[in-house]
């Protein structure tokens, strides 16, 4: 049994009204603990709906979502499920509850009913993990987008979940902020063994994951390891491959022997090797 499982899940927004939209159609996928997963697709492909289905913010109309064996449809399990899977959303401004940063990071542990000392320990640890400890007594509105998202991540970390979902968490950030978040996420997966599920439309971010799921129009069209990123089916659905892959293709067409690459760094290595 996998850590997170989607079993034939469907979900419709505004069901039974004239504006009904079937966002997710018969989706099945499995995520193991420790995985670094990317879920890619256009806006409107259903990927953000998947994020909310994972921790029971939305309940499937058909099929089942289970986290560590517990079903999200079971109201009594929701608390446990949310202890295990945290979500960092897209808008840095709309996730903070408190006027002081350390109070905001404490929000999660406070909801868990932990002792004040334990909460303090977790808040300090979480803020240090995202390199925002020195800002702990400050207010959110003076921070940059990247900093706010780091605080949001700290807020989720403080709950000590086994998995973290990043729902397009970098799409409203500038390049500096994006890099900050990607570095932290990478570190969490490698060092803390946290299961990371990155929902994104940036193919170069997807290239950093080990397992990739591609969605279009509510359906899963591809899943697998990084090789998925160069599958021709992507182009058929209007998705690009990562730029490094495209350039590699161009070089192969020109007769060069370039191995499997997905990031600019890997490509540079291969080019040097081949010359």
């Amino acid at each position: 049994m996998s850590f997170i499982e989607f079993d034939n899940v469907s979900y419709t927004y505004a069901a039974q009204t004239p504006n009904a939209v079937k966002a997710v159609k018969n989706l099945s996928l499995k995520i193991e603990e420790g995985d670094f997963v990317a879920l890619v697709g256009h806006n409107g492909s259903g990927k953000s709906t998947v994020a909310k289905l994972i921790n029971g913010l939305l309940i499937p109309e058909h099929g089942k979502v289970t986290v560590d064996g517990m079903s999200t449809a079971d109201k009594k399990s929701l608390f446990e499920i949310r202890k295990n899977v945290g979500i960092v959303f897209q808008n840095p401004d709309n996730q903070m509850v408190a006027t002081i940063i350390e109070d905001d990071v404490a929000f999660g542990p406070e909801n868990l009913g932990l002792s004040p000392d334990e909460i303090r320990k977790r808040v300090d640890w979480a803020l240090k993990s995202v390199d925002m400890y020195e800002y702990r007594e400050g207010a959110p509105f003076r921070l940059s987008g990247g900093q706010k998202q780091r605080v949001a991540i700290a807020g989720v970390l403080a709950i000590k979940p086994r998995a973290m979902v990043l729902d397009e968490s970098t799409s409203m950030l500038d390049p500096v902020g994006k890099k900050e978040i990607m570095d932290i996420v990478h570190k969490l997966n490698k060092e803390e063994k946290m299961t990371v599920i990155m929902i994104t439309h940036f193919m170069d971010e997807a290239a950093l994951a080990d397992k990739i799921f591609v969605m279009d129009d509510g359906e899963l069209i591809l899943s697998g390891a990084k090789k998925v990123l160069t599958d021709p089916l992507l182009a058929a659905h209007g998705l690009d491959m990562p730029p490094a892959c495209r350039i590699a293709e161009g070089l192969r067409k020109g007769g060069m022997n370039i191995g499997e690459v997905y990031t600019p760094e890997e490509l540079a290595e291969e080019i040097c090797r081949s010359l």
């Binding site: 913010l57 979500i87 959303f89 709309n94 996730q95 929000f107």
Partner: protein, 302 residues
Amino acid sequence: MRDVSMGQYYPAKSGVHKMDARAKIIFVIAYIVMLFFIPTVDGYLRGGGRLGGYIVSAAAAFGIIILFLITAIAFSRVPVLKVLKSIKAVLALVLITAVIMIVFYGGEANHVYWSYGIINITLEGIISGSTMAIRLFLLVMGPSLLTLTTTPVELTDGLERLLFPLSLIKIPVHEIAIIMSIALRLIPTLIEEADKIKNAQKARCADFDSGNVFKRAKAMIPVLVPLLVSSFRRADDLAYAMDSRCYRGAKGRTRMKVMKLGWRDLVGLVLICITFFGVLMFVYDYFGVAGIVTNWAYSVIA
């Protein structure tokens, strides 16, 4: 980047900052109540007092309260100017009302300087206007010192705990407290957003500055509607985020920052009691102190 400093928190490590928020809130309430224990000139005279007696009692009572305020400000390490700044908001209103009171005074008066129709400039009127102004200024400075020395979180926490008994009769105290706390958190964000929207509409030649009150109000619709719409979206997002972080209301919720009454609160209690007693002493002439002082004052003047 606007700096919203209306009674905004002023960070410092002072005794007052470290006091329990619940105690501070109760002290401010007591402070406000005290201010209204001091009678008006009219009330005092009608009660059979002499004007001289009123001047002495009121001056002494206000004096004690001002002493208390100064002590509190000193212990709080907040610059006096910051506290005085809170008067700015009501300055115009209070002064205008005071002037109106002085010019059109209608209470009992024995020392009339100039009278014509409804215009009635008297000593009593001047004193009445002055005491009203002093009372209102002091009224504004007390709560201002409270918000300067207490973070919004502490305030809402303190209120939530003070109002706890109400939750026993099914009033949703925790929910109200968290609503207030989130509202406070969002104020600077909303102001910033309103500015952005305003600029966007200005770029389309919207005019916010000319025309009468009605025209200007109507001109704000292109700012208020988007702000409202985005606020609903924001509320949705925030609700999802809170749920995701295991929020389930007050059930089982603990706090990182614990409120504990300490010796500082005891000191505050003692000071407030002394002040209260002093005020009452002069207002109700306990031990005849007010009477003695008044007679001595008259003997000196006459």
